[in-house]
């Protein structure tokens, strides 16, 4: 009896959605002869990691009970900052650092507005999204940011380490760090606690404001990282870069079992979510189906994933 209960709680939460991913994988492998080709799989992973990185940040934000709609704009503008510095002859390393700093700074501003002025995260980040996009538009009035495609920088997107595209390799490292941060540190534990019930966490002495600011900073930082890698891949930053990424990031997190109500999140789930989104795009390409179907399929999968999660958690609830 006791053993059973342990097994129950230690069960693999992401199992349901993993099955969905495998089913999709098997389906595509059968439907298209090109799907299993190494180049395609590499390409699929490469396409997925940009959303995945942003999705990791979104996972933290949703788990603390917030939302970050500014990540798409932050992604675009941070990429532009890095590009502008490199194009002006600045050091590549410095450019990257400045891009990351830009993302983190906007994240910190989000966090401070939310905790100090007590404005709802939806509104703060919605407004911030508009502000940052506006700044990006201003910096691209003379056309897209370009001229930064020096080999040291584009290598970031085009190089390979142990057979993996560098962005994929970086994402794996980030994943390991974040998994550790989320599961094995006081920061991760307190994020879950605050999202579960802020008042309880506060009365238990958790520094809610500090941690909230930290989470939005992390979200901005990851969006910036994604934006810099994307800039290296595209070799130009258009004013619209990153538009809609916030929605894909939310989708990746939610498909992976992160609760919109806070208190429950999964990093592995966010990976699965982002890969599913990537597979849908990739599959539609391979099968030469109109990409507009992507939206419909993504919507349907979100509903299925959430319903699946609800169904399994209801079943285990009444023990």
């Amino acid at each position: 009896m006791k053993k059973q209960a342990v097994a129950h709680t230690k069960k693999f939460d992401e199992l349901g959605i993993l099955i969905v991913m495998i089913a999709l994988f098997v389906f595509l492998a059968i439907a298209s002869p090109f799907f299993l080709k190494v180049e395609n799989i590499q390409n699929l992973l490469l396409q997925s990691v940009f959303v995945m990185l942003v999705g990791f940040g979104m996972m933290f934000v949703l788990t603390i009970g917030g939302i970050d709609l500014s990540v798409g704009s932050i992604l675009g503008y941070s990429g532009a900052v890095t590009g502008i510095i490199i194009a002006a002859g600045g050091n590549v390393f410095l450019g990257i650092l400045a891009g990351l700093g830009t993302g983190a700074a906007f994240g910190i501003i989000n966090g401070l507005l939310i905790t100090q002025l007590r404005i709802a995260p939806f509104l703060v980040t919605f407004a911030m999204s508009s502000v940052v996009r506006g700044i990006l538009l201003l910096s691209t009035t003379n056309g897209a940011v370009s001229g930064f495609a020096v080999p040291e920088f584009t290598y970031l997107a085009q190089g390979y380490i142990i057979g993996l595209p560098i962005p994929v390799f970086i994402t794996i490292i980030v994943f390991v760090i974040l998994l550790f941060l989320f599961k094995f540190t006081s920061f991760g534990r307190n994020v879950t606690a605050i999202g579960s019930n802020r008042e309880v966490a506060f009365l238990s002495g958790v520094s809610c404001n500090k941690i909230t600011v930290g989470v939005y900073m992390l979200s901005g930082l990851l969006a910036a990282l994604s934006g810099i890698l994307l800039a290296a891949r595209l070799t130009a930053v258009q004013s619209e870069m990153g538009g809609g990424y916030e929605m894909d990031a939310i989708a990746a997190a939610v498909i992976g079992g992160t609760s919109m109500a806070g208190g429950k999140g999964s990093i592995i789930g966010a990976i699965i979510g982002a890969v599913i989104l990537g597979m849908i795009s990739n599959g539609l390409d391979l099968l030469s189906v109109n990409q507009f179907y992507r939206q419909i399929i993504v919507g349907a999968i979100i509903i299925i994933a959430v319903a699946l999660e609800r169904f399994t958690s209801l079943k285990t609830e009444r023990v």
């Binding site: 094995f184 540190t185 006081s186 009365l203």
Partner: protein
């Protein structure tokens, strides 16, 4: 059972199984019009499950429900309403931003034609008049009906719920812990309402943990234990002790044990604590080994006082621990100085109900299980959680169980474990036994006693005077944000505490 001929509701042979448990086993209950029946039992005895069948939330696996002698199937809450069954839940179920009229008519607003019959608008006037008419039965003045109910007190909220029930033309009102948030004198008002319902021929099922309330209020007491009927008695043929014995299946003697603990030097001193409009110049102290009570009516500022002490709300004044002034601006600071507070609402303020027992126990002192200042040492954390679960006798299959699946008493023990793990010098309890069954109450009391025996100090806020008088060495009485009197254990009586709490004083 009994007068089956004219019963309004008759439930017979009700059985309900959940995976792994038989929640109800061949239970019967009948209520006639104009009769008040009390349903008592420990948490988990099956009272709520039984009542949820009458409100259409659960359906019996076996057994029959008859309304006015006719067998019925209560499929959902709407169906229960149509049958004249109305439930007032333990947790307030009013929308706080709406006023009384809007709440009473929520979801079934009266409408009238605006353009022909096709386009309708709300008939505000008709709803207001009807509400006022019902309201007038309880209150001579009716100005409150247009104020958002969130701004009214607990008693008025209860009354609005009763008015709402009556407006549905119900024949049976189920009241689940209706006095939970009410002060002593407000309870009396509520009892008058129950009598009024009775005189109007309405049947009432009254669920409570406050057994004292039943005498003089109810006609019959049905006792449940472990999902079965165990007794049905008239209030004249029993007393509190007898009921408790039937509920728990054993005799509990010396319900509150006051152990002899030698009182030492001062640990906590609070001076000039003030929060504008809420608490005014509160001064108090707690000594080693001492249990100090704070009595007062709802709204007297007791909860606000203890929240201000631990820095949950901003206030001016000083707090000293062991004679040294402390800068306490957040509950985190209070913990660092050895003060812990168990807040009044377990689910909303006390425990992370969606998280497991282990995470809850270590929440307030996570740094104790960290390696360095960041990384959680899983082994140490698990060991700590297991140790506290065992020490406090928390009934849970494992430390990985979500807290929401535990009973109220065990939830409170998990919260207490969390605070004991912060190694506090002073623990502040705000309504520690609200909604907890008798057996668990007893255990909480002995845990409190253990804490003071080891030299801790306790500040205890409670609306239950027997609890306060049974446990406390000294009692402060608050009224309108001020401490108006201090009693020693010997001086305190229910009468004189109530007198000061309601603004009077001995002549």
């Amino acid at each position: 059972m009994g007068n089956s001929g004219n019963a309004f509701i008759e439930m017979t042979g009700i059985t309900k199984r959940f995976p792994g448990v038989v929640a109800l086993d061949d239970v019967s209950l009948s209520v006639s019009r104009g009769e008040v029946v009390a349903l008592v039992g420990e948490n988990g005895a099956g009272k709520s499950t039984l009542m949820k069948m009458l409100s259409g939330l659960y359906h019996p696996d076996e057994g029959e429900i008859r309304v006015d002698g006719r067998p019925v199937r209560i499929t959902d809450p709407k169906c229960a309403q149509a049958l004249g069954i109305s439930t007032i839940f333990q947790e307030p179920s009013l929308a706080p931003h709406l006023n009384a009229v809007q709440n009473v008519y929520l979801g079934r607003e009266t409408q009238k034609g605006l353009i022909g019959r096709a386009v309708k608008r709300l008939d505000e006037k008709a709803m207001l008049e009807e509400t006022q008419k019902l309201y007038a039965k309880f209150f001579p003045t009716v100005e409150d009906v247009l104020i958002p109910v969130g701004q009214l007190g607990a008693l008025k909220n209860r009354v609005i719920e009763i008015v709402k029930a009556l407006s549905i033309k119900c024949s049976l009102v189920i009241m689940d812990e209706p006095t939970a948030a009410l002060a002593e004198h407000e309870r009396q008002v509520l009892f008058d309402f129950v009598h009024m319902l009775k005189s109007q021929g309405i049947a009432v099922i009254y669920i409570t943990h406050h057994l004292r309330e039943l005498f003089g209020l109810v006609d019959r007491i049905v006792v449940m234990r472990d999902g079965k009927n165990v007794a049905e008695v008239g209030p004249g043929d029993t007393d509190e002790g007898d009921l408790v014995a039937r509920m728990v299946g054993r005799t509990i003697t010396n319900f509150i044990v006051k152990e002899d603990v030698s009182v030492g030097g001062e640990i906590l001193r609070v001076e000039h604590l003030t929060r504008k409009g809420v608490i005014d110049d509160v001064n108090l102290h707690v000594n080693r080994g001492e249990i100090v009570g704070i009595a007062g009516l709802a709204g007297a500022g007791r909860t606000e006082t203890v929240r201000a002490i631990v820095g949950a709300d901003k206030a001016s004044g000083t707090v000293s621990v062991d004679g040294k002034k402390c800068r306490i601006q957040t509950p985190g600071d209070a913990i660092a100085h050895g003060i812990g507070m168990l807040p009044e609402n377990r689910k909303l303020q006390g425990a992370l109900v969606e998280q497991d027992v282990k995470d809850n126990i270590t929440l307030a002192n996570l740094k104790e299980v960290l390696a360095g200042n960041f990384v959680i040492r899983k082994n140490k954390e698990v060991k700590t959680a297991k140790e506290y679960v065992q020490r406090l006798g928390v009934k849970t299959p494992t430390i990985y169980q979500k807290v929401k699946s535990l009973s109220g008493g065990n939830q409170q023990k998990v919260i207490l474990a969390k605070w004991l793990f912060t190694k506090p010098k002073v623990l502040i309890f705000d309504e520690p036994t609200q909604g907890i069954d008798v057996g668990a109450k007893h255990e909480i009391y002995s845990l409190i006693a253990d804490f003071v025996k080891e030299g801790g100090g306790i500040l205890l806020v409670s609306s239950e005077l027997p609890e306060l008088m049974g446990l406390a060495d000294r009692i402060y009485v608050m009224h309108q944000g001020r401490i108006v009197h201090e009693f020693t254990r010997e001086q305190a009586t229910e009468e004189n505490i109530t007198l000061y709490a309601s603004g009077g004083h001995e002549s």
